[in-house]
């Protein structure tokens, strides 16, 4: 489901991030431009060290670029001070990380509620919203569990619910399946796919090619730059039976 509402939700132009200087200069991000429109799922793939996590941090305002510009939800990130940037992140961006980053001392439901409470939403509204989201990710019966009592896939689903609690314009996910076994990966892929269908804008950086199944666009990254882009086309290639060895 792609909404064609002219302005992209997220836009980057000539983005650069360098570390060090002189001979030790590292170009982690080297002239990257990107438009993400509402409802779109974009996956950025590449080997570890290609700069994809750095890119995600720049797009989400967790790190500052050394060149170029990022616009998020109508704001130019370079114009914002730290406080305004933190506020923008809280209100407009949902983050999902490889290592889940849940609070171990809080239940699944409390983890989901927390960002809403920090954003000043009433405890009752936050609780209701958390219950809705846990239902959406299929974990209503685990709401009172502590993270340690949940499987990796369940923890990541809680983290996705938490990322959605502020109704973000965009969810940025960094290797969301990186710590998961095959079965849990399928669970998380199903969840991401259902968010996509529901119109959530998503940017996922990953080395896991299975994410391709949920993405509208797949961008390959190498040495800090985009090198290739493919768009999802309708239908299947009809080649699955050949891949399974059923025909030659």
């Amino acid at each position: 489901m792609t909404t064609n509402s002219g302005e992209p939700v997220l836009r980057a132009r000539g983005l650069r991030r360098t570390y060090g200087s002189g001979d030790g200069l590292v170009r982690a991000i080297d002239d990257v431009s990107l438009d993400v429109t509402a409802g779109e799922t974009v996956a950025v793939m590449g080997p570890s060290g290609c700069g994809k996590s750095t890119l995600l941090h720049l797009l989400g305002g967790l790190d500052r670029c050394t060149g170029g510009e990022v616009w998020l939800a109508g704001h130019r990130l370079g114009d914002l001070g730290e406080r305004a940037l933190a506020r923008l992140r809280r209100e407009h961006v949902g983050f999902v990380f490889q290592a889940f980053h849940l609070m171990d001392e809080l239940t699944a439901a409390e983890n989901v509620e927390l960002p809403a409470l920090l954003a000043g939403i009433s405890p009752r509204a936050a609780r209701r919203r958390a219950a809705e989201l846990l239902d959406q990710v299929g974990l209503t019966d685990r709401a009172r569990f502590m993270p340690a009592a949940l499987s990796g896939g369940q923890r990541q689903r809680v983290a996705v619910a938490r990322a959605l609690v502020s109704n973000p314009d965009v969810v940025l996910a960094d290797e969301p399946t990186g710590n998961l076994d095959s079965e849990s990966t399928i669970d998380v892929l199903r969840l991401l796919d259902s968010l996509h269908t529901a119109g959530q804008t998503l940017v996922i950086v990953t080395h896991d090619a299975r994410i391709a199944a949920t993405a509208d666009r797949l961008i390959s990254m190498r040495d800090g730059a985009f090198v290739d882009e493919t768009r999802r086309t309708g239908g299947t290639s009809g080649s699955l039976s050949a891949l399974a060895g059923l025909e030659n």
């Binding site: 892929l189 199903r190 796919d193 090619a209 391709a212 699955l240 891949l243 399974a244």
Partner: protein, 175 residues
């Protein structure tokens, strides 16, 4: 082995059959040891009949009965160019792909990284189809297991492409 491999090796420069065999051996390492010595000449004579290579008698060495120097014809050049851009799957011939990269780089015909990118696009398309099919299967479905097998194999192929990409990126920056 596909005859296009031999054809592409000739794209670098006109060569004797034994030179081609040597380059193949070098490119394939231990896998090349099982190659039948006569195979390359069989392929060369087929290519000659098909008008894809032209052979010219040359003053070879006394201990080398093989005096023919083979050269690509215009049709041969065209066939090589077509083969380089061709993406073959699901019957992945790893040696063929490997040799394609080597031949393309040696003759300066195509950027090996562009060939890797094209191959990756194709694999990703197939992986996406397989994974989408797996997502729509119910968790208890037996077909899910088969689809997982396809996905895992494609992932392994993609990891090898990553290795190809790393190696050829390194070689390019050394040049």
């Amino acid at each position: 082995m596909r005859q296009e491999v031999v054809l592409a090796l000739l794209a670098k420069e006109p060569s004797h059959g034994y030179e081609l065999r040597g380059r193949l051996r070098q490119a394939l390492g231990p896998l090349g040891e099982t190659m039948n010595d006569g195979q390359i000449y069989v392929i060369l004579s087929r290519l000659e009949k098909a008008g894809l290579v032209a052979a010219e008698e040359s003053a070879g060495l006394p201990d080398r009965p093989d005096r023919k120097v083979y050269e690509l014809t215009a049709d041969g050049q065209e066939r090589v160019a077509g083969w380089l851009t061709e993406v073959s799957w699901p019957k992945p011939d790893l040696a063929e792909f490997h040799l394609k990269l080597i031949a393309a780089a040696a003759a300066g015909l195509a950027d090996p990284l562009a060939i890797v990118d094209a191959q990756r696009r194709e694999l990703l398309r197939r992986l996406r189809d397989a994974q989408r099919a797996a997502l729509t299967e119910s968790e208890s479905s037996a077909a899910g297991l088969l689809l997982e097998g396809i996905v895992l194999r494609l992932q392994a192929d993609l990891r090898w492409l990553e290795a190809c990409e790393r190696t050829w990126t390194g070689r390019r920056s050394k040049r």
